[in-house]
Amino acid sequence: MHPTDFTLRGAIDALNEGTISSVELTNAHLDGIAKLNPRLNAYITVTAEKALAAAKASDERRRQGTVGALEGIPLAIKDLFCTAGTRTTAGSRILDSFVPPYESTVSQNLLDDGAVFLGKANLDEFAMGSSNTTSASGPVENPWSRANDPDTRLVPGGSSGGSAAAVAARLALGATATDTGGSIRQPAAFCGIAGIKPTYGRCSRFGIVAFASSLDQAGPVARTVEDCAILLKSMAGFDPRDSTSADMPVPDFAKACERGVKGLRIGVPKEYRLDGMAPEIVALWEQGLAWLRDAGAETVEVSLPHAKYALPTYYIVAPAEASSNLARYDGVRFGMRVTEPGSDLRDLYERTRAAGFGAEVRRRIMIGTYVLSAGYYDAYYLKAQKVRALIRRDFEQAYEKVDAILTPATPSAAFGMDEKQDDPVAMYLNDIFTVTANLAGLPGLAVPAGLDGQGLPLGLQVIGRAFDEETVFAVGRTLERAANFTALPGLRAGA
């Protein structure tokens, strides 16, 4: 067995049994990266030397008898997480040379558990996108391709496209990711892997470059549901440095994976049956419900009457917060600065931000600035906050009847790198199934569940109650077992 073929759980076991060392495991992944990253572009920065040093130190710790929960496990870190001493770009030119002197809480938690970081994963610029084509470091390619059209390069989804592609192509055993409107679940679905956005407040946002503060949540992507559970256990936890971090104990998520779904009521939101939805997606959804019924769950129709307003709500709230969060990139204290001879401060700001931000980021900053501006705040931002409250209430009412909700993860499989790029609104529709969970702050898990007619992976999404990731994992693991998803992408290490 090639070392990159381990699941994260399998690698932990192999390391514990002594059949492999962290150095061997890390080297195997670094070799895969050296071979495939030039094409996939899943990593912006590969920290091979640091990774090997960390692997050596981990093997040494193991010899001394100190074994953390992720001892010696090589991971990819989305380049949105600040990593002390390692360049952190957020996929933007404006942070091209930024080396944070601090570590994000989530990545520190992983380091504390013994993880080894292979490098910084590519992403849409400032996590704004659903295709990973807006990165200043260039687009990421999905390791999967269409059976009848192998030459068309596909997007991995976004914004955590680099994380998802790296994990799918076996260039990491797991990766950190973030999800503001679907940025974990959509790329996970596009790349045939699992990914969970936990409840808002479960993972600290400290040290993660902010996109939209009230929506951003960190979470893992990995090749199995259980691997996600192991990673999330490590990443999550109360952090006094994040005022929105939840002061709650972190359950044993891996254990919850094996709970089964017997007696659970699974909600099917009727509003998610969209007109013109791809028949393959509808069929997969029905299949997922059938699997859960077979495993002893009851499926119940629920109503989320405001769900159809989730995307427009999101495209007010997220740009508004982003326009403010990204004001700090002004060319004064860090990052890029662009001036002309005779530039005054205002000119410096305007040139720096025009040159430093890509088109999508500039567009969202402009929209966010507009919806908050004098005279428009009530019509846009305040209205969106009220609709958001209604969306949260819809879920609260649904959860009086059900324990979790099942939906498709995405409206389609991965699309071509040149498709959908010229129409922002068409691109935004990618997040139609995922964005409600961000608005309501709820946990959502994407599980690979089948292939479309072109042989591309499709995912299902489980949305749970606030802070009830355990049920989400139990449902996800049941789906995963039933789906028995064994297809592999064409591009992968060790292939």
């Binding site: 601090y102 400290f206 470059v209 902010a210 440095r241 403010s324 004098a374």
Partner: protein
């Protein structure tokens, strides 16, 4: 009658409101653990949060909240148990995040009121609209380089209370008295040190003018005035400018202005012209600030006595209204006075503190917080007066010696033998000598020239080097001359 400024078209009334920015006394900043001390090396008291680095998040300092609540209570204002922070978005060189975290829609403190006392002894109530917490910006230095400004972020993130008044003031004097009163209350509460020259307190002055009986006309805001005197000057200068504008048939436009202290005029701040669209929205990095009523009650119970209450107590102790006023202006003075007066005659203590002690402070250019004589020693001096060890004039001598040496009065009395003589026999002996040496004057006195009485007292005191108890000396001289 009420204050007016005479224009070409007749008298104009002034309408004045103040927004005071007061730096909260706390060890650490409002949202970060960096220190707040004044005068540190540039950028040495800066956390990554204060510098707006990527991924940095604010966490609220409990003491800053407590200080705002104490201040609210001290201003007789409503404490809002539910308040919230908002972002005020604008770009500025010393605003690292590109927004100021402030409280816009839901301030921690609502309406209140303070009473001001004017020079003629009358009082007036000035309404407080609100008080909110917000973070300060950094500092730009423009004089360090020919073509650059330098940014120091030490102040960035320091907690400020913005105290907004109602437009209740009608004269420069009222504006000055209001700012003085607010400063006095904050200093009593220990919530702001009130050091205006260090920037711990500064005021935005809103001024408009109108004819009697009119509603409000357009106001202008004079930003960042940093002394009480300048606030009064700025009010007058801005009012005169507006009167001229109106009287020349033009209109006053709402704008922010600066007070040019050198020229005594206000001028337009054009650099802020497009900064008015602040795009406020709720700070998503901070959940609402929810206070427990028990906690607020505990802060209230622990509140120190405020100047108005203290003044009332002093008058009840028998002090004149004037002494009570003077002694309560500064908390340090009141504390000094109370230490001196403790267990002693309050009036005597007040006389000494407002008299010789204040005179000494003036003469030596010292401050009550750094007194040339400690309150304990001054108290001990009063004890020596009360137990008749020292006469009034001896006490003054001892006080001077205390100023020079810093020693306790008892020690000085011992060393210099300045103890008052109260032994009647000893005084009688001296008086007898004086009478013997001045037999002619004794005869004159006895023949009716009673004015000479003072001469004998003076001669006796002189012979006793001033140590004779004045009352006893008087009595003995009288008896002897009657002899």
């Amino acid at each position: 009658m009420s204050y007016t400024i005479e224009g070409r078209t007749g008298p104009w009334e002034l309408v004045i409101g103040l927004e005071i920015h007061a730096q909260v006394i706390s060890q650490a900043k409002l949202f970060s653990g960096a220190a707040t001390a004044f005068g540190a090396e540039p950028n040495s008291q800066v956390s990554f949060i204060d510098a707006g680095f990527p991924g940095m998040l604010p966490v609220i300092n409990q003491e800053c909240v407590a200080q705002a609540v104490r201040t609210g209570l001290g201003l007789n204002a409503q404490v809002n148990l539910w308040s919230r922070f908002d972002r005020k978005n604008y770009f500025y060189a010393d605003l690292p995040q590109g927004y100021q975290i402030s409280q816009f829609a839901h301030p921690i403190i609502g309406e209140g009121a303070v009473e001001i006392t004017l020079g003629d002894g009358t009082t007036k109530t000035i309404g407080i609209t609100r008080l909110h917490l917000e973070q300060d910006a950094g500092k730009s230095l423009h004089d360090q380089h020919a073509t650059k400004s330098f940014i120091d972020l030490n102040r960035s993130g320091v907690a400020l209370m913005e105290i907004v008044s109602e437009p209740d003031m009608r004269s420069p004097e009222e504006a000055g008295a209001y700012l003085t009163k607010i400063r006095q209350i904050l200093r009593y509460l220990g919530t702001c040190d009130g050091n205006m020259d260090e920037g711990s307190m500064r005021a935005d002055v809103n001024v408009s003018v109108r004819k009697a009986g009119e509603g409000f006309r357009t106001r202008c805001e004079v930003k960042n005035v940093n002394s009480i005197r300048f606030v009064m000057q700025a009010v007058e200068a801005e009012a005169r400018r507006q009167i001229e504008v109106w009287e020349s048939g033009e209109e006053v436009f709402q704008e922010t202005r600066l007070f040019d202290t050198a020229r005594g005029v206000t001028r337009s701040m054009r650099s802020k012209e497009d900064a008015h669209d602040y795009r406020y929205f709720p700070e998503p990095d901070l959940p609402p600030l929810v206070l427990d009523s028990d906690w607020v009650a505990a802060l209230k119970a622990a509140l120190p006595e405020l100047p108005d209450a203290r003044r009332a107590r002093y008058t009840a102790m028998g002090l004149t209204a004037y002494d009570a006023h003077v002694l309560t202006l500064e908390k340090e003075t009141a504390v000094f006075f109370e230490t001196v007066a403790k267990g002693r005659d309050a009036k005597l203590a007040a006389n000494w503190v407002t008299g010789d002690f204040f005179a000494a402070l003036n003469r030596l250019k010292r401050d009550v917080s750094d007194p040339p004589v400690t309150a304990e020693n001054l108290g001990a001096l009063l004890d020596l007066i009360s137990d008749k060890t020292l006469s009034g004039s001896l006490a003054k001598q001892v006080f001077e010696a205390m100023l020079e040496t810093g020693k306790a009065p008892g020690e000085i009395v011992e060393e210099r033998g300045l103890k008052q003589v109260t032994d009647t026999g000893a005084i009688e002996a001296v008086v007898a000598q004086v009478m013997a040496a001045n037999a002619d004057k004794v005869a004159e006195y006895r023949s009716g020239k009673e004015k000479l009485f003072g001469f004998f007292v003076g001669q006796t005191m002189k012979a006793m080097q001033g140590k004779g108890n004045p009352a006893l000396v008087n009595e003995v001289v009288k008896t002897a001359l009657a002899g």
